[in-house]
């Protein structure tokens, strides 16, 4: 009796983009806009399979940005189905240390590594740094008890951003990260299918 010699689970991974070319371009455009206008929120209304444990927005972002050249870090306890999905669709190497990763992926419910434990890039190639993809509980631009004011390149004056579900000292880490410019870590905050971009140039007011 021939067994199916696929790896961990006998179930095939969830599907990727239904139309890879168009959808990855749309997602890329959303991510680009998010980084160009830091703190603003962009939606990815896309069809793709979603492995258990990741949001639709995180999945779409990884399908678009991760590939054989971008090592990805995932928290150790993340569902094996997520690893299988990324291996299949993205072909990205999965690494055990955040500083070896181009994308540090933190799904909801998992602890994020400190920004200083990620790769801040190289003086000759500052863009070779890690980008953190962080799932959060809530994300909007309305003032609230959880809001901060952002300023810097891409923001006309100031941008209000409310986020819940960040590590407690995230904004403190962020200020330290900002001091490293041109080095530093960039981040995307993701909730459901919504994205918000934080390039390292963003200033968080005290």
């Amino acid at each position: 009796m021939l067994t199916n010699p696929t790896s961990v689970s006998n179930a095939p991974p969830a599907p990727g983009f239904a139309d890879a070319v168009m959808q990855s371009q749309q997602t890329f455009r959303a991510a680009l806009q998010a980084v160009a206008q830091p703190g603003s929120i962009h939606e990815t209304e896309l069809e793709c399979g979603v492995p258990p444990g990741l949001s639709a927005g995180m999945t779409a972002t990884l399908l678009t940005l991760a590939d054989v050249d971008t090592p990805v870090w995932l928290p150790p306890e993340v569902d094996e189905a997520v690893r299988q999905y990324l291996r299949f669709h993205c072909g990205c190497p999965l690494v055990s240390e955040p500083e070896h990763a181009r994308f540090v992926v933190v799904p909801a419910g998992h602890a994020a590594p400190a920004l200083e434990h990620c790769d801040a890039g190289d003086p000759a190639y500052p863009d070779s740094s890690s980008t953190m993809l962080l799932e959060v509980d809530a994300l909007d631009n309305e003032p609230s008890t959880a809001s901060v004011m952002l300023s810097g390149p891409g923001i006309a004056d100031r941008q209000c951003l409310s986020v819940t579900g960040l590590p407690a000292d995230f904004w403190q880490q962020w200020r330290a990260n900002h001091q490293l410019f041109p080095l530093g870590v960039d981040a995307f905050l993701i909730q459901g299918n919504r994205l918000c971009g934080l390039p390292r140039t963003v200033v968080v007011e005290d």
Binding site: L2, L94, V95
Partner: protein
């Protein structure tokens, strides 16, 4: 900077892997038209759906310096890959040199069917064995033609050991 970390799965029986790698090799090395003919001759196949539509891309060919030493990147080769699932969840995969989408898709479908007890023997005998034989015959013929250009030295004393 790439990290080649071959992932070691919780293992399927080793000989099942060897058998599957063997038929995947035959499917990849087949002439596309010969594979298509063999597939048509099988008649109606169970339905499958695409997990990954045939996608054209490349693999970087690696070699070793001096033929034996440290690796270096030689250059890329075109590859088409495809993955399908049958209704019972069996997954078929193909990675095939070149840019023939039909070749990759047919190889993936056959890979899936070969994993099923009810199709395995039929596909082995009607598709795999003849394609393997054709490839081997081509290679043998080439080797015998090349042998016509082998120089016969009439040496009195054979060289070293």
């Amino acid at each position: 900077m790439s990290v080649s970390t071959p992932y070691a799965p919780t293992s399927p029986p080793a000989d099942a892997v060897v058998r599957r790698a063997a038929w995947m090799r035959v499917l990849a090395l087949a002439e596309p038209d010969a594979l298509d003919e063999a597939v048509q001759a099988l008649g109606a196949l169970p339905p499958h759906r695409a997990l990954r539509n045939p996608e054209r891309g490349m693999a970087m060919v690696r070699a070793r310096s001096g033929g034996t030493g440290a690796q270096f990147n030689l250059g890329e080769m075109s590859i088409t890959r495809c993955a399908v699932t049958l209704d019972d969840g069996v997954m078929g995969v193909a990675y095939v040199q070149g840019r023939e989408r039909r070749h990759a898709e047919q190889a993936a479908v056959l890979d899936a069917l070969l994993q099923r007890a009810d199709w395995h023997d039929r596909i082995q005998s009607m598709v795999i064995a003849p394609l393997a034989q054709a490839h081997s015959a081509r290679a043998q013929h080439q080797a015998r033609v090349a042998a016509q250009t082998q120089v016969e030295f009439f040496t009195m004393v054979r060289g070293e050991d």
